[in-house]
């Protein structure tokens, strides 16, 4: 009798747990799973908008075929989008550096933290795009695109005077013009690293400094290993953030196909293909990084 009531309680708790996630589950089925399958079906159809909904004709694999073999813009812009992922390691290094800088207690900490989180708050798609176009576009400031922040320093001229080749100068120019992109994409990452840094217990630092470890040894043997879960999370977040960005070439071309050319089935095929690419990349990232992850006991 007693055992029976205990099992009853356990089962009850299961059902209670289920009721807590029930609203989410309904929302997920209505607004995620079923649209995803629907979109998958659209990718094999040719759609036309009619007053009562979409009129669909089955076309099989035609959308995918013309996307991969006939479309001259899709694959190049896909490669371009993937090329942008080179920025991810830079974002990680920058945000880790920033997080370590503002972790401790110092006068002005509140201000620095507020500044560090500001990109999260106002760095939304449209605003970013306009800022990129205006702040860095030539004209307004009388300068060229790459001299906005370092206008006074005039780094390209300096490099030229030092006898550097045009390749180096172009590289530096690209890097400088991407500083904005880089730093304004790093808000959430800085937050997550900060959270990770605060999660490292103090006794590890105390023990290591008793053993004679200096700052560098502590960083590489305590901080970095303990942050590996955050590094994985941040890598994944950065990839998602860049791939789903408003200014991303593929996203723009999907939007264009959908709402200017009204090729709905074709656009669905594009977005499904793109989604698969994202999943594959995330899977690769997770597989590559998994070996290095150290979980705190």
């Amino acid at each position: 009798m007693k055992i029976g009531s205990k099992i009853g309680y356990e089962t009850k708790r299961k059902w209670y747990g289920f009721t807590f996630i029930l609203p989410w589950l309904i929302g997920c089925i209505l607004f995620f799973i079923s649209p995803l399958f629907q979109s998958f079906r659209y990718a094999f159809q040719s759609l036309e908008a009619t007053p009562t909904g979409f009129a669909a004709t089955e076309v099989g694999l035609e959308n995918f075929q013309s996307l991969l073999f006939k479309d001259t813009t899709f694959l190049p812009s896909l490669v371009g989008s993937l090329g942008d992922l080179i920025q991810v390691p830079l974002i990680l290094v920058y945000s880790l550096f920033f997080a370590i800088l503002i972790k401790g207690k110092f006068p002005g900490r509140t201000f620095m933290r507020a500044v560090a989180f500001m990109p999260v708050i106002i760095g939304s798609g449209v605003l970013m795009q306009i800022l990129k176009e205006d702040v860095f576009a030539s004209g307004a400031r009388g300068g060229s695109a790459d001299t906005y922040l370092f206008a006074a320093g005039n780094i390209p001229a300096l490099l030229n005077a030092m006898g550097m080749g045009s390749g180096v100068i172009n590289f530096v120019n690209t890097v400088i013009s991407r500083v904005f992109d880089l730093t304004w994409r790093s808000g959430v990452q800085i937050m997550l690293f900060l959270a990770g840094l605060h999660g490292i217990p103090d006794y590890l630092y105390e023990a290591s400094s008793l053993e004679g470890a200096g700052g560098f040894a502590q960083f590489f043997k305590v901080t970095l290993p303990m942050l590996t879960p955050m590094i994985l999370l941040n890598t994944i977040y950065s990839v998602i953030d860049m791939m789903n960005d408003y200014g991303n070439a593929i996203i723009r071309s999907i939007n264009n196909t959908m709402f200017s050319l009204f090729k709905f089935g074709y656009a669905s095929a594009m977005s499904i293909l793109y989604f698969i690419v994202i999943i594959v990349i995330l899977g690769l990232v997770a597989l590559l990084l998994r070996r290095f992850i150290i979980y705190q006991e």
């Binding site: 708790r13 747990g17 289920f18 807590f20 996630i21 609203p23 989410w24 589950l25 997920c28 209505l30 607004f31 995620f32 079923s34 649209p35 995803l36 979109s39 009562t52 909904g53 979409f54 920033f98 509140t110 201000f111 620095m112 933290r113 507020a114 560090a116 500001m118 990109p119 999260v120 708050i121 106002i122 939304s124 798609g125 449209v126 605003l127 800022l131 205006d134 702040v135 004209g139 307004a140 009388g142 922040l149 904005f180 730093t183 959270a195 605060h198 999660g199 955050m230 999370l233 791939m243 789903n244 408003y246 996203i251 999907i254 959908m258 656009a267 669905s268 977005s271 793109y274 989604f275």
Partner: protein
């Protein structure tokens, strides 16, 4: 002799501490210089917005003006307000942000609590789906969702109530609000994750005490657990508020041109400004100086509510960051 050695070693100690002190001061100076550089490059666009929005268009090509304009003007704001139809867009977006923020706080808390504290079959797979909801680009889902809202039938409920086959919810705020009430709004997966981390960090004894006192799971959740994750609530509300405010893609498709959201208005501002818009009564032609100053005024007007909310909540945000951790 011993005295000599002693003074010498004392002298050496002095040198050492002095050197360490100097090193410390230099380190501090370097630290603040670094902070200043980082803060400058992050604040640059905001300062630029202010500087551009407040200056007379004729000041733009003046090389002697770097930050502080010679001729201050508020005309830029007046024009931006008019051609964005700012107050209409503002009221749409602020309603959306507040209502969705409110719903997200509760619906995601429930889901997060369910995932953090209960065991039920399929839990891990379901949580994986939570993560997936963040990964999938909204472009993949937009067509089915659009037709869902355009011909909303709610499993026959609409027919039962109105007698019509379906109703058109495009152009209303419901396509944004209903998903957020069901924990599937803009980036809701992330909020579920945040809540889950917080609830996992609370001691189990807290709930056990409540159960022993005779409270059911819901009572425990609302009167014991939720008040204990205040920082998570504020963080989620802040995120939900700013991300709903900044949402462009979904609001553009779902709200239509009747209820333009603030981001839709901002994205169309450049076009609106350079065209003859009889409605707004602002005509700038193709004068690039005027357009740039008006654009920055528009940007500032759009960013201002978010900055204000941020200033009031960033204290809680910084505090809650220290508690998220990975568990």
């Amino acid at each position: 002799m011993t005295a000599n050695v002693k003074t010498r070693s004392k002298h050496r100690m002095d040198m050492k501490t002095r050197r360490r002190k100097i090193g410390h001061v230099i380190g501090r100076i370097l630290f603040y210089v670094l902070c200043a550089c980082l803060a400058y490059q992050l604040l640059y666009p905001v300062l630029y917005m202010f500087s551009m929005a407040l200056r007379n268009p004729s000041d733009i090509n003046d090389p002697s003006i770097v930050w502080i304009p010679k001729n201050f003007t508020l005309d830029n704001f007046a024009d931006a307000l008019k051609s964005m139809n700012y107050w209409k867009a503002f009221s749409v977006s602020i309603t959306l942000s507040i209502v969705c923020g409110f719903f997200d706080v509760f619906s995601c808390a429930m889901a997060g609590y369910g995932f953090a504290r209960f065991k039920f079959p399929g839990k891990n797979i379901l949580f994986l789906i939570v993560v997936f909801t963040i990964v999938v680009p909204s472009q993949t889902l937009i067509l089915p969702l659009y037709s869902r809202w355009r011909y909303a039938s709610f499993a026959g409920l609409v027919k039962l109530l109105t007698g019509q086959e379906s109703m058109n919810l495009i152009g209303t705020l419901w396509p944004m609000i209903i998903p957020s009430a069901l924990a599937m709004g803009v980036r809701s997966g992330l909020y579920i994750f945040i809540y889950r981390q917080f609830f996992k960090g609370l001691p189990v004894a807290l709930e056990d005490a409540a159960y022993i006192d005779g409270a059911g799971p819901y009572r425990t959740f609302f009167s014991i657990m939720l008040p204990n994750v205040k920082n998570a609530i504020i963080t989620v509300f802040l995120f939900s508020f700013v991300w709903n405010w900044g949402e462009y893609y979904l609001t553009k498709q779902f709200l239509g041109s009747e209820n333009r959201s603030i981001m839709t208005a901002l994205s169309m501002l450049r076009m609106d400004l350079s065209q003859v818009s009889a409605l707004a009564g602002v005509q700038l032609g193709t004068n690039p100086e005027k357009i740039v100053t008006r654009m920055q005024a528009g940007c500032l007007l759009t960013a201002a509510p978010m900055l204000i909310v941020f200033i009031f909540t960033q204290r809680f945000l910084a505090d809650s960051i220290e508690h998220i951790g990975i568990k």
